[in-house]
Structures are given as C-alpha cells and as structure tokens.
Symmetry: D2
Subunit: 246 residues, 4 copies
C-alpha cells in the first residue's frame, strides 16, 4: 500500500504552539503514525502545499493508493488544477481520508457536492466519539467511546450527503452532536471523513485516533486496484460477447 | 388518513404519577395531539393491550393507514399472532410509528431483524435532538435543537440496521448520543422510530414532540395505498405483455 | 408549488423530427404535462438556454420550489455563474428533477461530485423500468414494469453516488441494466434523476412517464420551505438557550 | 478465517442430475472452491441439514467466522432453535453469505424482517450480472458483466430492505432485473446475499461465481472479531470514566 499524507503546513510555521506540538509538522505526525501502524511492506510519504504542484504531481498520484488530507488556513491557495487531478484520481480508485478542517477543502467539497458547512466553537471541550457501526473495519479495536479530553467543537447540521456508512457520532460537553466518522464511495474511490484533529490540541498523538486513521487507510485502499477515470462509452449491441472487460 | 394509536396502557394503571400525567392514557394523549394536528378529514382511534386481540383485529388493521405503537412493561404479553398480522400489514403498506420503548417490542424487533438493544439510564437528564436531514418532511418546522429538559437516556450502540434515512440524533447531559429519529422502509411499509416518550416525563404534551409525530404519520402513510402482503410469484416468460400489474 | 421547467431547446431548432415531435419544445411538453397533472393552485413556467441568464435569474429561482432540467447538446454553453446559483438554491431547499441526458449537465455533476458517465447506445430498444421501492411516493400508480417500446440505452456502470433511495431499475433488450430512477438529498434540497427522455422518441408524451415526473416534482418540493444557503457558523457555548433557530 | 459451508443437501439425494453435477454435494463444491481460493491458513468445513442440530452446534458456530447458507426444498425443516442460535451469532459478528434460494430461508428472513419474496421462472435464460459499485471488494476482479449462459430467473420486486451496499444487478433474457448482490450489516455481523446458484445449473463450478463468493467471505469476516450478542445495558452516569469497554 502506498500512502501519501498531505499537509497544508501553514500553522506549523505561523503558530509556535503548533510547531512545538508537531515538530515534524502535523503531516509528519500522521505519516509517522501510519508508517508505524501499517508496518513493513507499505510506503508512506508526505506532500505539502508549499511544494511544486503541492507535491501532488501526476506521478505521485499515480503512485498513491490512499491520500490523507489536512488543510485549514489556506484552502483557497490550493490550485484548481491539482484539485481536479486529485478528483479524477479518486474517481479512478484512489482512497481519500479527509481529516478535521479538510471538511472545507476544495477537494472534499467537490467530491461531496454540498457546502460541507457546519457549526463550530473552539472552547477546548471534551469530545466523545461513539461507534454506531461496530461491524465496520474502521471501528476495529476502537474504544467506545473514544475520549478526547479537549477539542474544538464541530456541530450539526453538517451539510454533507447522507454517508454511505456512518461509523462515529461525537458529542461535546456543550451538548452538540456531530457525524464525526463518515464513509463515502465516489466513482471507484473510497472516502473517509474523520473530524478529530484541530491544530491546537495534540490529537494526532492520541493512540486511538491513530488507530482509526490506520484502519481508514486500510479500508480506503482500492481492493481491485486503481484504473482510468470513468468516461462515457458507446456500447454496441452485445459488446460484451467476446470481451471480459470492465 | 386513518390512524390507530396503540398503547400498552399498563403504567397508567399501575403508577399513579403516570395516570396523573396522562389521565386519558399515553395513547389518549398521542391520539388527541394527532387529531388536533392532522385536522379534519382524518380519523384517529386508539387500541390497547387489554382489548380482545389487543384491539388490532384484521378489520381494524385493514382500516388503518398508519399505526403508532408504545409499549414497555408488557412486550411479552403481546400475542404472536397479532404481531404476525401487524407485520404482514406493514409489508403490505401500512405505516408504523414506533415510540420510545417500542424499540424492544416484538413487532419492531421482527421488522428490524436485530436485537434493538441499547444503553439506558433514567436520571432525568436534558436531551437535545439535532436535525441531521433538514430536507426531511419529518423535520419540517422542528426546532434545532429540540430540547427536552428531563428525559430518560437512551444511548449507543443502538442495535438497529442502518436507517434508510437518519433524521435526528440526540445528545444527553451525561455525554451519550443516540439515533433518535430513524426511517426505514420494509416491504411497502414505512417505519419511523422516534425515541422520546418515557412515561415518567410529560413528553407527549410537548408541542414539538407532537409536531414530529404528526409529521411522521403523514410521512408513513402509504402514498400508493396498501395492497396485499408480498408473496413469491411464478412469472411466465413475458408475463408483462398484456398486463399493467404490479 | 412553483415549478420551473428548464429546456436546453437546441434539438428542437436543429432537428426537424424533434420539432415535429415536440412542437412546443420538449420543455413545453413537460410543462404542459405537469400543469395538467399537478392541477390548479400550482404554477408551472418554462425557461430555456437562449434566454438572458438562461431564464434562471435570481428572482426566478427565488420563486421556484422545484426545477426540472433537460440538456444534451449544449451542456458547455450553460454559464458557470448560473450553475453556481442553481447549486446554491438546491442546497437551500429547491428540488431538482434531472431528466435523461441531464446526467451529464454541469449542475447534476456538481451536485453528485462524480463523473456521471455511463454506457450508451441509440438503437431504439425496448426499455423496461422496474420498481424496486414500491413504498416510494414517486412509484405511486406506476405500472410494474413501465414499458418504453423504443428508447436509447443507458447502461451501467453509471458513475453516481449510491442513491439515497433507488426507485427504478431499467433493463434493455440488449441486456444492459441501469439505475433509472434515483433519489438524492443534498443540503436541504431533494434531487431525482430519471433517465427516460431521449429527444428521438416521444417519451414525454407517455402517460406513465408523465406520472413519474409529476410524482417526482411533488416529492422534491421542500417540505419545510426553502431557506438561505448553508454556511459555517460560530456557535457560542449554549447558543441554543433562548433561541429556537435552525 | 474459519468458514462453515452449510448445505441443505436434499436435491443431491433426490435428483440424479444434481448429484451428477455435484458429486460431493453443492456444499462440497462451494467448500472446495473456497478452500482453494482462500488459500492456506484458513479453515473451511461443511455442515448439512441431516446432521444433529444441522451441524450447527454452539461449538461449531463459536468456531465459525463466516457461514455460507444454501437451502431450497426444506426451509421448514430447519429447527427454530438452530435458527435463533445462528441469528444471535450473526448479531455478535459472524458473517453470513446467503446463496440463491436462501433468500427464503428462515435465517435470512429473520435477519431482513421482510417477506424476501420475489418473482421467478426456471427457463434456463441467460443472466448477466452488472457491477454497480466497482469500488466494492466483493466486485474485485469480477468481469462486467458476469455471464451465466443459463439460469433460473429471479425478478423484482425482491422484498428486502434497501441494501446497505448494492453491488450487482442482474438482467435476464426475458427482461426482468434483480438485485443479485446485496450487502447488509445487522448487529456486528455482515451479510451478503448472492442470487446465483440454482441446483439445475453448474453455477458453483463457474470461476467468476466462485471468485465472488470468496470475495464475499473475506468481506463478511468480522474485522474486530466476534463478541457476545448485544443486550440492553444500564449505564450509570459517566460509566465510561475509568473504562475502555465496548
């Protein structure tokens, strides 16, 4: 499995506490956790906004089974051509794990077709994530509830399509709820949205959060490999005789 | 629209506070609210456990478009033959609105195929119901959140099939969440589960709860009328030529 | 209910057989059928590509509960600003009924987030539409199967998100299948895709096709009215005390 | 992975052509294919109706991760206590792959909550299975379409709950369609219904059918292991402090 961990990498330079919390960047922390948890035989790399083509060249994407995405302060600086390239690649089978404020990234909004807006409040409240689909592989080994002692609140209504599979629902000390773990399939690609991960809290050092992300990467990996982007095709009568094509 | 409000009608006789809260029975309160909110041209009646065949004779069911169900203390006393009759009728198109502890009724469990178990705690906590599908007709006019100042806690994991449409998610002061408004289609019948309504609180006098139940009854009514129970059918080649049948 | 029937209105001018089949335009045929079937008290108008802003000004959209859309030859000529305006309006609650080759329109693709590609063949084959959700209001009164003696083939894989509700599946004489009646909710808006309606066949004169479209318009109308487009909102702690807001 | 292949094993004794087609029983053919395709490290056994407790003792079930089920002529002879035991075990996490006429088995109907009825015709028609969810692991490596030269027709309306994931839709030469590959989650258990496999045709010798069943067994295996059957539980306030329980 080839995983690319994309990080916006802005707060780490702008905000000293974030840099101290994540000396290798938030992407670095996520990548290290994945490398550790996926184990040998898998390849984990990082890419960031500041690299040419944001580090997401056609070659890198062609060599990626699952892409994770974290962005917040600079959604608008992501180039539309790169977004279109990632979009095509997801429809062709690449998995995508969208983390926290990636709910409002160009790529996630393009894939969802909705505004992806929500309510929020950054008061450092306790968040509890409850598993509502215990059979789901992304929930394997995850405590019920998963407790984050302090986190930003994200609340409903979260304007997303009804998830194909809803895995986690969060509650916050202030009373709000949030669909915090959501699976979608778009084209041949699998997408998991997971809301934990505000930069002001050490969320990606939390072992259970790491476990969820590793489970999600495994789940999102293309079972049948990736292919070409879907296209309209003329189908002559009985085209399938003499073929064994998809 | 012909609505039958079924009540177990046990707590009302056993527990003085319940009787004082609901002098006409819990079924009486629900029926009065529906009669008022659905308006003229609709017929609302009640039926209870203590009546012959629990008031759910073949004739009554044939004359019912939507059945609401509340039970708690006496699930086991409901006759299996009546349950089977209601089950068949739902598959043939009758709507069902299952209220609160009806989660564990024979009819709801038979329709779901799961254990319908949950976590619970009766500490009189604040419950907030959040709308996660604002386009849904059952959410029309319902405040976000809908607040119940004191109620029994029902918490996840709630062992139901993934709802076809999830309308409400509740949070409780103690931190739990619950899928409190869930739509299912089974056969030609529409089912709505709505968790508010413990007998120890005046929930069915709450105007917004009444609004939800009235919306649910309208939603669950069979758009194309009710028919016969589904059955296996032999279909000769091109049977549909010369027919216009379902 | 206020319905706007949008027509691309290109084939009607370019292709004599289409003009003869639909002397008032395809949009004219759909609008007449809807006016007839919805009955008095509802307002049906048309809008076309050739009008300023394609007839879809902010005022027209603000005055529209459900928009139907047919396009084929000129998807690229639809202005992106108008698409964005329609998109926002759907998320705010306006219903959308996408007809036939509207599967590849800018607005449908933007709402779905997928390529919306498919297989096709225009050989005038028999198409049978089978109801797989007999409880659904869009299926009310529709024969099983609904038969189109000759139509263009649309076949799987149809690259759409899994529909929130799948109502019809088509088969074609050549053996293909197609998810031909699909419901989606996006934001507060309801969307129905219905595949019948190639311009080379008199599909919109077929009474059962008209029935489906009228059912779909009723289903897609916003139950709770339309509101503002969703947006991110800061939520102070316990903001909901003293409010009754969505 | 521990797989138990359950066979009704009646046609094999009653009908000479079935016995000749499947000299080791239909269950024997399925088990051999699974043993071959799952490879070493997995354990595949069979169980049949005629064994004590139908071969499905508590010990066997406790030692089973995925159960496959084929029945047709003797659904009524399956003991209700065994059905209840299998049901509990599925809710506790055991996977179930229901094959062909198992649509009408007691266990499948109990899990679905619907009548599971359908239309049928045994005229040896060509069946084509089309993949509508190409990202699904059960579709990995499966041709599009998968062709069965001659098979019994199963047609809609198939009275099942809307599948959580719809993977395959079949067409038949006579024009019918059928949702032939359907995923459900019930409790902690995953269920796949796959319609090919009438006893009068050599379906389980077809390599692509075998591939689907092997994929389905892998998909249905419990990612987090199996546990106890779900039950109602009292949850004291803040029970989760000091626990890490499910």
């Amino acid at each position: 499995m080839r995983v690319t961990v994309w990080g916006e990498n802005v707060h780490e330079h702008r905000d000293r506490p974030v840099r101290e919390r994540y000396p290798d960047g938030m992407h670095g922390a996520v990548a290290a956790a994945l490398a550790d948890r996926l184990g040998p035989g898998h390849h984990v790399r990082t890419a960031t906004l500041q690299e040419p083509e944001h580090g997401l060249t056609a070659d890198v994407l062609a060599d990626t089974d699952v892409l994770t995405w974290w962005g917040h302060a600079a959604h608008d600086e992501v180039d539309d051509a790169v977004v279109a390239r990632v979009h095509d690649r997801v429809l062709a089978g690449m998995g995508l794990v969208a983390l926290h404020s990636a709910h409002y990234s160009k790529i996630f909004r393009a894939l969802m077709g909705t505004s992806c807006t929500l309510r929020w409040r950054n008061d450092g409240e306790t968040e509890l994530l409850w598993t509502v689909d215990p059979a789901h592989p992304i929930a394997a080994g995850v405590p019920h509830p998963l407790r984050l002692p302090a986190h930003e609140m994200y609340g409903e209504h979260f304007d997303i399509p009804q998830p194909d599979e809803l895995v986690f629902i969060s509650s916050f000390a202030g009373g709000e709820v949030f669909r915090s773990g959501c699976c979608f399939t778009r084209g041949a690609g699998r997408i998991f949205y997971f809301s934990p991960g505000d930069q002001e809290y050490p969320i990606y050092h939390h072992p259970d959060v790491q476990r969820v992300i590793a489970n999600a990467v495994r789940w999102a990996a293309p079972a049948g490999g990736t292919g070409a982007a879907p296209r309209n095709r003329h189908a002559p009568l009985h085209w399938y005789d003499g073929e064994a094509a998809r």
